[in-house]
């Protein structure tokens, strides 16, 4: 891989553990008994185990794997939402992690108010949001509805507004979790186009998805996670092929693994 010093994202030996309670501690007596017996009443679950990779500017990395393989946990560590149990995560530049669309949206607030709230949560200043407001409202195609409460929106309008804000956040590093899989076909195409435009602008992307087609279409490189560990890392085409081979022919309607 490229020189470590120029990497925009560097993940080194990342481990993340969660405490999983065996039994819900329902009362003081039980808590006291657990304490006396020296049991914490919880076991450790390692969601991410020893993941390392580095990404240079302009690169896009796809992350694939079954449900519960640690993809989202890894992304949350990169986003600063979870603190790594072990290892380090180093990012250079402004990171935006889109783990869902419309984060912080309040149904009683107008589209305009929600744009400001949502965008500021991702680190934009209000002055900067005001400057981008015309572009965002144009992209969302909401017309006069921009000043109506979001609760009056159709779900399509809601998605358009949420996505319009997301694409105008303009980070240097973009972390995406699965969000392209919502919306209809034309909406998904619009998202893909915006992503490709984004990457032509030299931005760094990490893209978590169940859609191997999208991963291959967007990313040159990919990693395959299983049980929190990296099974395979390499070109997105080979990794996707290996993953598909191991999973067997994927039926159109995939159930939980």
């Amino acid at each position: 891989m490229g020189g470590a010093s120029t990497a925009t994202i560097e993940v080194d030996g990342l481990w993340k553990a969660f405490q999983v309670p065996h039994e819900r501690v329902v009362n003081i007596k039980q808590a006291a008994l657990n304490f006396i017996r020296g049991r914490s009443g919880a076991s450790t679950f390692w969601a991410v185990q020893d993941v390392s990779f580095s990404l240079n500017r302009g690169e896009a990395l796809g992350v694939i794997g079954r449900n519960g393989s640690g993809k989202s946990t890894m992304l949350s560590c990169l986003a600063g939402i979870y603190r790594p149990t072990r290892g380090t995560v180093c990012t250079r530049g402004r990171v935006v992690a889109l783990l869902e669309l419309g984060t912080g949206f309040h149904s009683e607030l107008s589209g305009r108010d929600n744009i400001f709230l949502n965008a500021s949560l991702y680190g934009l200043r209000n002055r900067e949001i005001a400057r981008r407001l015309p572009a965002i409202t144009d992209f969302a195609e909401l017309g006069d509805f921009i000043d109506a409460p979001v609760k009056t929106y159709s779900s399509g309008m809601y998605s358009r507004l949420a996505f319009a804000v997301a694409v105008h956040l303009d980070p240097e590093i973009l972390l995406l979790d699965e969000i392209l899989s919502v919306g209809d076909q034309s909406f998904q195409r619009k998202c893909l186009e915006k992503m490709q435009e984004f990457m032509r602008g030299g931005k760094t992307v990490i893209f978590v998805s169940h859609s191997l087609g999208q991963v291959v279409g967007i990313c040159q490189r990919a990693i395959w996670l299983d049980g929190g560990r990296v099974m395979l890392e390499g070109g997105s085409v080979e990794v996707a092929a290996a993953y598909e081979g191991q999973m067997g022919p994927i039926p159109k309607l995939t159930g939980p693994a």
């Binding site: 969660f18 949350s76 986003a79 600063g80 939402i81 979870y82 603190r83 992690a97 783990l99 869902e100 984060t103 912080g104 309040h106 009683e108 607030l109 108010d113 400001f116 709230l117 500021s120 949560l121 991702y122 680190g123 934009l124 200043r125 209000n126 949001i129 409460p149």
Partner: protein, 270 residues
């Protein structure tokens, strides 16, 4: 701690937007809107005055204005405590989806509370006009000093409570009855000077403990703007007010430590 403060400053527009959200959402779908900020305390005060002055025969001079001067700040205190304690626990879904300095949530609840409190102050001014009592102007600065100390105290309290109540719902359950007890032990419904400090048969140690409640000197400070309730009648008043200020600062430190210690666990535990 210092990098944390720098980050809070960098995200200061989140605070502005969260406060706007709280203010806009609170009175959405209501005809009278923010007038409820005035009407609610007015109605409560009306009932209290009827019950205590007329039914119970309390005969303090200008009882209603004395009540209002401490009741409005107390309502502000109790409401922000209750809302502040739950403000992070309610937003765990948000905390799981985006990183931003978490302390902005309790700070936004507090700021919205301060704005509501300031909006309710016309009730106090209006009462002076209606009851035809002149303001003790020399104590107006003390009024605002008390506001500042109370806000600091509240910030420390809600930083602590909001962090703990993510993990222990008990905090919010116990808080309601705790604030009620606190209410009766503080000079809100009655004149703390006449009824406690100057009461001849009460032991001195009791009076000292009474004044060590941080809210006691703060509320007496507010009340001083009503003539005959000036704090010059309270021995060592400014020493007790200083202790309140000290407790407020200590509470901010404790709140800051507790909050920054637990904030990583909000997303993982909630």
């Amino acid at each position: 701690m210092i990098p944390g403060l720098r980050e809070l400053f960098a995200y200061r527009d989140v605070l502005v937007n969260l406060v706007k959200r709280e203010l806009k959402v609170r009175y959405k779908n209501s005809v009278l809107g923010f007038l409820w900020s005035l009407l609610n305390p007015l109605l409560q005060i009306l009932v209290l005055v009827i019950a205590i002055k007329y039914f119970m025969g309390q005969s303090e001079p200008s009882y209603s204005i004395m009540l209002v001067s401490a009741f409005l700040p107390w309502t502000f205190f109790a409401m922000v405590l209750q809302e502040g304690a739950g403000c992070v626990a309610q937003e765990v879904a948000l905390v799981k989806k985006v990183y931003f300095p978490r302390a902005l949530m309790p700070m936004a609840t507090l700021t919205a509370g301060v704005i509501h409190f300031l909006l309710s102050l016309p009730v106090l001014v209006g009462m002076f006009a209606v009851v035809r009592v002149t303001v003790a102007w020399n104590y107006v600065p003390l009024f605002f000093v008390a506001v500042v100390i109370q806000i600091c105290f509240m910030l420390g309290l809600i930083l602590t409570l909001s962090a703990l109540s993510v993990f222990y719902n008990d905090v919010r359950y116990i808080l309601g009855s705790f604030t009620t007890m606190w209410f009766f032990l503080s000079p809100v419904l009655y004149d703390g000077i006449k009824r406690v400090i100057e009461k001849p048969h009460l032991p001195q140690i009791f009076k000292t403990i009474y004044m060590l409640n941080p809210m006691a000197p703060i509320l007496m400070g507010y009340r001083s703007i009503v003539p005959t309730y000036g704090v010059h009648q309270v021995p060592h008043y400014y020493a007790f007010l200083g202790i309140s200020a000290g407790v407020a600062v200590l509470m901010i430190v404790i709140g800051g430590v507790v909050f920054s210690r637990y904030q990583w666990a909000f997303a993982e535990h909630g």
